[in-house]
Amino acid sequence: MRLSQGGLIDRAKPLRFSFDGKGYQGFAGDTLASALLANDVRLVGRSFKYHRPRGILTADSNEPNALMTIRRAVDEPNVRATTQELYEGLEARSQNAWPALGFDLLGMNDLLAPFLGAGFYYKTFMWPKSFWERVYEPFIRRAAGLGALSKAPDRGRYDKAFAHCDLLVIGGGPAGLMAALVAGRAGADVILADEDTRLGGRLLAEREEIDGGPALDWVEEATAELRALPNVRLMTRTTVTGAYDGGTYGALERVSQHLASPAGHAPIETFWRIVARRAILAAGAHERPIAFPNNDRPGVMLASAVRAYVNRWGVAPGKRVAVFGQGADAERTARDLRAAGVELAEVITDRVTGTNGRLGLEEILVPDGDGARGINCDCLAVAGGWNPAVHLTCHMGARPVWRDDLAAFVPAEGAVPGLTPAGACAGAFSTAACLSGGARVAGAILEDLGLSAPKPDLPEAEDGGYTITPIWHVEGKGRAWLDFQNDVTVKDVKQSATEGFRSVEHMKRYTTQGMATDQGKNSNVAALAVLADATGRTIPETGTTTFRPPYTPINIAALGAGALDKGFAPERHLTSHAASVARGAPMIEAGLWYRPSYFPAPGEQTWREACDREVTMVRQAVGVADVSTLGKIDIQGPDAGKFLDFVYTNTFSTLKEGRVRYGLMLREDGHVMDDGTTARLGAQQYLMTTTTAAAGQVMAHLDWVRQALMPGADVQIASVTEHWAQFAVAGPKAGAVLASVLDDWAPGDWPFMSCGAVSVSGVAGRLFRISFSGEQGYEIAVPARFGESLFRLLVAQAEALGGGPYGMEALNVLRIEKGFITHAEIHGRVTAFDIGMGRMVSAKKDCVGKTMSERPGLSGPEREQMVGLKPAGSVKQLTGGAHLFEAGARATAANSQGYVTSVGFSPTLGCFLGQGFLRNGRARHGETVRMVDHVRGVEAMCEVCDPVFYDPEGGRMRG
């Protein structure tokens, strides 16, 4: 029921909303929970296991019961009504009830409760095994569970972002505000994050005075002062969810969920990584419920929540309210109810032994002589004492420590380096203690940071002591709930102890206590107390409770923000990209690069037709391919030659200027890392080419060798991959194409493996006479700005001579025909010996990997050596990844003699060709082996060959 006055709501701004299809009205400033209570909606959900009717328990993010599905672009389940701000047109649905909230057929689970207690799943759904998939699991999934996912892809926008500060203040209550004021005034970079919509913390929910005026006035002033400080950043609606190494904190900002019509491109949520030199945890404390019989009836509510609804939202959570608890909290609640004009039934300081009511509280029972007497009320405010919000201090492994005087856990000293608790989360519960604690901790941190802070004038505030004789649990007839969401009762915890699960970790898993979405915030300590009692130990002897990130649930989409599409992996585009796409070439990924697969010609139906044509075109006329993806590393300096001699197995210091040499690089463990050609451009300048796949790895490796293994060498390394657009021009007519684009150029001046500067239609470029196709081949490079233009020009010239562009498929077939290798072959487990290049490891000098490559076992007949493969039976197909067996052997893992690494159909030779590794393969040329591809179900007999199928003398390449 809405009170006639009071509350931080704007009564001039009514908002319509609906719950389970029925329309209601609330005000701006309401949460969904306060608006529902204002409309006397008390039944808001059904419990997880027994489908018990449940009402709103809290007024914050700890809420275990009031989880709802909110209609959005994609419906969002499990939204806590207590933190969902109301907006015009909000549509909420209850969860976990079928067919309706008021009449839930699965509520019969409640009647089965004697059979559904602790360990029920473990005991019941044990056998037979086949029942799991067909019977048990579907049953559990339907019966239990929270809100359902919509199963629609979430196209909503989520951001991730980084922030840095000197001091992160977590929580904007009196301690946090005071800390931020002290640090902000001293000039520190401060971020103050609070999960609520506005700053103030508990002060928003209490009737208190600060400096003789309403506490809210002080909150307003403090907020205004902080807002005016340029070095202070206020982040409301932002929950700090985790504490990590190095002063890094995760924080979830809810950007749009509170808006009826979010701004166009604004994200739904932003997940922040905040890096703070220091942090203050001012997260406050959470009031805890008391376990008494039937304490889960809608209307039973935390006393702090009752005060919040009355004071902050102007809502009476009941017409007649009783209070259960001791000391200041009970008194304060009674006082606020009276002040708001709500009828106070009675304050019970001893015991409540039961409740009655259908779908909501109608009566509570209290002891009366030997029997019980009923008290008429529809709301019971329960004040069970406070638990400091120690959660973030546990995130790096520390466990909180028990304080007997508070009957609660407080953070361990130095639990998270750089994070200091202050205020209620450090066990200082009064407002005055929070203010002074916040100021004191901030002052100490400022001093540490080398900033001077004037001693602040502390405002005067309530300074009542906190005394507690905790009531964990009241005996009586009926179940007493600990974990409301997971339906864990006192009896379950006791049973767990009886059955031998006496460790708190075992009890948790046996009963599911603390494993719901509130992660035990409402129940862990009480459950521990019950377990301690049941096992005859004290609470500290029984164990501690601990918490892992996140503090509150986070949408996976928020954690994965920024990692979709291009954000997941950048796309690297060739300068010829648009020209290739315009020709209809499908672009395929090669690392981060996109390369043309093939260039379809009119009438071609399959990629194979295009590929065969392109291969033949290169062999008979000329082809043009963009090879700019290969890594190009410029190496200069007096020691450049020496450096290359050390990273390559073969020698480069002897290479003549204007010449190119093929090189092989090993890892220090003796296996092949990469291969490629390196050109000597000048006396002290080389240009190394790496494979596309290993470009990044090789660059890091070269940096490693230079800095760590040859720190004295005078050599400089720079990647120039991006500066040059480079094109292969290959085929018998390659010279003619080049002659048409190069100024004053004659092929006769450019022998095989030469390189040098050229003028490309007036542009300074480079030319390399190298070949990856086995034909007369060149690679021509120009600054990338001219890349697209040169590609178009080369293709046009080639087409005029019966040639054209070729893609990755043809490039692959051409190199297989020639026995050239790629990373399909040098896959990390092969040695120079295996690929037939053992003699390239120079005996005259040391190099990376040389010593280890000489180990026994890395060469010899027992090695799987690279071979060529050709179909030799009725099946004419070869497949990559297939294994090789002796002709008569069974195709088992134990009999495997090797495997196929690359295959392609050779239009030149009219059959499939393959490359692979076969035990002692080089000595077995001519032998027939059996290829079995268990995955694709292909089996073929193959002839073992030399890997060079085409033009083994190399006449065409050199010619």
């Binding site: 980084f162 890094t248 990584r273 220090e668 463990d669 010593t851």
Partner: protein, 87 residues
Amino acid sequence: MRLPCPICGERDVREFTYKGHAVALDRPAPNAGDAAWEDYVHLRENPAGETRELWYHGGGCGAWIVVRRNTVTHEVLGAELASEVAE
């Protein structure tokens, strides 16, 4: 996690890649023998406590650095350039 690059200052760990223990700086002579090479390439301590490890600031200045770190507390104790350690 944050690492203090001696060139760039403290940076987010995502800018770095990990190589392993700093023993990789002590490359044996080619003729040091099998045991020394086996040790160098394959054998690593797994200390509970302080360790020295190599990181590459590939997302930054390109320096290889030696980071002193405590594997138990996760405390980062300092960093030096690998080139200076190696010299």
